[in-house]
């Protein structure tokens, strides 16, 4: 079973990113589960969402405490103690950070760090506003490239089907992030 935790701020679409990836994995014949840390979704506040992907049906229903991957949609959360973005990350795990910086700027011990400028990609594609870009579809592109748990085709299809608006722009963001993620 593969377990990932998405950290973001309310309004960035962290919960939706996990949901879309769950749909994409399921469309490829895998089992999946996606759910938010419940009841704290306020714009700008730290939020987290969980994603499980497995070859077998997923029976367990508790939160993810020891993720294989941590996805940080907002780098300012690295300094927010309560967000606990490092919490429980498995040894040798995966970290994806939305930032302009290179992976070498971040120390996550023996975890492998990847970076992607999802904010810039979102703004370029007119997703959200300059001050409140919706970065989740770019994050999906990076996740797909780094983890290989979902194919690019399935992710693109799920993003297209589940985007409430700007479908083509969201698909473009997925592809741009897939190509430009650093550390691969």
């Amino acid at each position: 079973m593969y377990e990932a935790r998405f950290h973001g701020r309310g309004g960035q679409g962290a919960v939706t990113a996990a949901n879309i990836l769950a749909a994409a994995a399921y469309s490829e014949g895998k089992y999946s589960q996606a759910f938010p840390i419940f009841g704290v979704e306020r714009r700008g506040a730290p939020v987290a969402a969980f994603l499980r992907i497995d070859e077998k049906p997923i029976d367990i229903k508790f939160q993810i405490y020891e993720p294989d991957a941590v996805i940080i949609q907002d780098p300012s959360l690295l300094d927010v103690k309560e967000a606990n973005v490092r919490g429980g990350l498995k040894s040798g795990g995966t970290v994806i950070i939305n930032t302009k910086k290179d992976p070498s700027n971040f120390d996550f011990g023996d975890a492998k760090v990847y970076t992607v400028d999802a904010t810039e990609i979102a703004i370029e594609n007119g997703l959200g506003t300059k001050t409140n870009p919706i970065v989740n579809t770019a994050i999906i592109g990076a996740f797909v490239r780094v983890t290989g748990k979902v194919s690019l085709d399935a992710a693109v299809k799920a993003v297209y089907e589940l985007s409430p608006a700007k479908r083509d722009q969201n698909v473009a963001a997925v592809k741009q992030a897939y190509e430009s993620v650093k550390g691969v």
Binding site: N19, A22, Y26, S32, Q33, A34, K61
Partner: protein
Amino acid sequence: MGVKQVVKGNFATAVAAKLARVDVVPAYPITPSTLFPEQISQYIANGEMDAELLLTESEHSAMSAAIGASAAGARVATATASQGLKLMSEMLFIASGMRLPIVAAIGNRALSAPINIWCDHSDTMAERDSGWMQFYAENNQAALDLMLMAFKIAEDHRVLLPAMVGLDAFVLTHTMEGVDVPLQEEVDEFLPQYKPLYTLDVKNPMTFGSFGTPAHYMEFKYQQWEAMNNARKVIDEVFKEFEEKFGRKYEQVSEYRTDDADIIFITMGSVSGTARAAVDRLREKGIKVGAAKIVVFRPFPHERIREIAKKAKVLAILDRAVSFGMSGPVFADISGSLINEEKRPMLLDFIIGLGGRDITFRDFDEMTEISMKTLEAGKVEEPVHWINLRKELLEGGA
């Protein structure tokens, strides 16, 4: 074969209402069930569903409207949770007393105070004597399937009782997972149009919910008692028919690795899958545990509980609600089922997961430890245990 989709639990119950061709949906939104009326509203707006959505001024009114519509012969569904179910409470008893087969999806949520929007079973447990049948879903597929089956069971003329389908707040209502959504034509074959036995009709006037004097009241209640007892057989029939048609098996109580188990966990709702995974882990350590999931809580599956009790030395009962000054409600009912048995296992009650506290493998380890100590001692010192209680917060007393 239906359409495979990744959906939230609330979507699963709403799509079930659509597939059931529900005529009237009276509703008042409340977390975590709000997505249900939202989804119904969207179906109606899209022209996918031909139903009347009545957005009332309260849950009390929503259930009142449900009663009126059902008495007029409509198939009726609604959804609520927690305080909303409490506000409906007065009308719940009228719905069952008038023998109206309304189906409600309940996003099982804790009760105030303190205010809490997260999962436990306090809301539906407090309505266990309301005369409604109660089903509990383990996952989103079960939420959908049990909704569909609830209509067929409720509307059977041997039953004619309302039914609630519990799905755990957030853990199911807001969690996305794969669900096989049946095709409309398959559901139409399984669930034909509702044919009421009696209905409000100006051409054939009839009184519903009339005055019941001491000369008649008890007979009304006895008929409800009999209807609930009849429901056991009807539930088995409908579960079997559903399995034949859709290939998914449901039982009033389903068992996992119980045959040689010393300790059997008894669960309801979304924790049941975690329980099976915990059983596998504990079995690897050589501990003989099993799990049994109660799907139908009203009518209570006495016979099945007695069969399962014969297999175990300890029943470790998980209660996501508490009857203050007594025990958890599931423990109390299981105790009642076993009281006249010559031989019975030791019973332990674990109050767990109130107000959305996560239930993990660590909790199963804690319950197993208490169960094994009881097994070694050969007697129950203390039947009720609160699991994963933060004792550091309790210093300083009540």
